[in-house]
Amino acid sequence: MLTQISQLVIGAADLGAAFLFMFGLKRMSSPATAPSGIRVAGIGMIAAVLASFLYLLTVDAAARPHMLVNVGLAVLALLIGGVGAWFVGRKVAMTAMPQMVAIYNGMGGGAAGSIAAVELFGGRTQGTTQLVVTLLGGLIGAVSLSGSVIAWAKLDGVLKQPLRVRGQQYANAVVMAVTVAVAGMIVTSVLGVGGLVLTTPAWIWTFFALALLFGILMTLPIGGADMPVVISIYNAFTGLAVGLEGFVLQNPALMIAGMVVGAAGLLLTVIMARAMNRSIANVLFTNFGTPAKAKPGAIKGSERSTDAADAAIKMRYAGKVIIVPGYGLAAAHAQQKLYEFVKLLLAAKVSVKFAIHPVAGRMPGQMDVLLAEAGVPYDMIFQLDDINDDFATSDVALIIGANDVVNPAARTDKASPIFGMPILNADKAAQVFVVKRGQGKGYSGIVNALFYAPNCNMVYGDAQAVLVKMIEAVRGLGAAAA
């Protein structure tokens, strides 16, 4: 009877959770309904977690004497992990969101890997299929954990340079092959085939150590500019690992949630890779940022600078202005000042739009969040495909903290390393202003042909300081008129 009640309640709660997750994600298709979407999904999560305490009614006889300790440990783990992560998540700055997402993602992968470890050490996996799936989920989860930690370290600036060694890809392939071989040893060992060097637990430890090592080795050589792709991939990995462990535990809610997230991560990975005009394999296995072999076409002319105040006044009397923000804007903490300036332009009846490149920021969509945080209404924010034709009819394009995503060489110069990458056609505006710290190359180290174009003027200086000057200039006009 108790068993049936437990199974019924857990089954119903998990079914409800799976539905609410999908319904919640569905509601994310518009900024207006999205906040309710995450709340709906949150209700599903709480229901599933509470119901899972009914597992206690059906634990194995062997685990029954440990029940009190296990429950105590569970409550403690829920409190420490849940409250700690909640507190950090509420406090973290929006600019630090990519590394935060990487860490939460790694935690999910680690949890999936740990479940696999408990199942393996406890000898609970029945049959070859379950054993292989457990190992596969454990492998992917462990890779996601250590890979996400490295991604965090890179995004947080703990690791400054990508670490590259000659023949690294071959070393990685060897580590992967050995990991798979060790997994094979575990399978034969558990199934009771003799002639093994180590005991089963020793093989299991080796397996997880190698999987973690592989995650580290795989992520170390990937450059900072490729992090949006890497975060997306590990998101997909963790989803997949959770789904596989869900099969092992015979829990369809885990399988559905894991697979949905796996598909989501894969889709975002594809979108990001496409926005950088590179294949996923290219991001993972080649070293971006190494100088191109072909010599890019020589650029004629020179950079011409202009005064912040002059640029501001030009925009104040323009009909249509498009702003292209890049990560440099956030690095200078200048989003609020930018929106203050935009509000002045709007008050003067200037049409202002924001143009966002898919890889602006360090994870998909980060620039949109940073602008929303500064108070920019989302109906002023446009994505590449929706706005690119507008540049030709705009009076001014203001580029702040962006570089490669507006480099026309991507359209014209076949020798350029970014040739073929979709870019924002800011160069087609009648006048282009580029706010930049000083002369120099972009994140990828490529010279930007736009800066030398006849319709382009540079405004040198820190983005925040430049915007303060621009605001003063426009305000000064108003005062003079009054």
Binding site: L8, V49, A63, T95, F247, M255, P377
Partner: protein, 114 residues
């Protein structure tokens, strides 16, 4: 009457296939402007792994299993709670031209610190 769930290989593959397809379609409809909250939100969704961690911990017998089960629940709970906290925070920031963000000042404060 029994409510036990038993899935063999093919049933599991059907579930994986349908869930993957549903995920691809649902996520494909999310506009690019919401890609960061989408990612942290889907991050939150795979925090359901905490349920699996609880199952493993409740059935743990040896101290080793208990320790690893503890880690599973700890990490899973962090994944779920953290993913929810950041997603909810970000989504609350998206406003249209007619509405004013309610918590703007608090956010500016955080940004300056970071």
């Amino acid at each position: 009457m029994t409510f036990a769930i038993a899935m063999t290989g093919f049933v599991a593959l059907y579930i994986f296939m349908l869930a993957g397809f549903a995920g691809w379609v649902i996520i494909g409809n999310v506009p690019a402007i919401l890609h960061t909250p989408l990612m942290s939100g889907s991050n939150f969704v795979h925090g359901i792994v905490v349920v699996g961690g609880l199952y493993a911990l409740f059935n743990a017998i040896t101290p080793q299993e208990q320790a690893i089960g503890f880690v599973a629940v700890l990490l899973g709970a962090g994944n779920a709670a953290g993913g929810y906290a950041v997603t909810d925070r970000m989504l609350a920031m998206f406003k249209t031209s007619d509405a004013k963000p309610a918590r703007k000042h608090a956010q500016i404060h955080h940004l300056k610190k970071g």
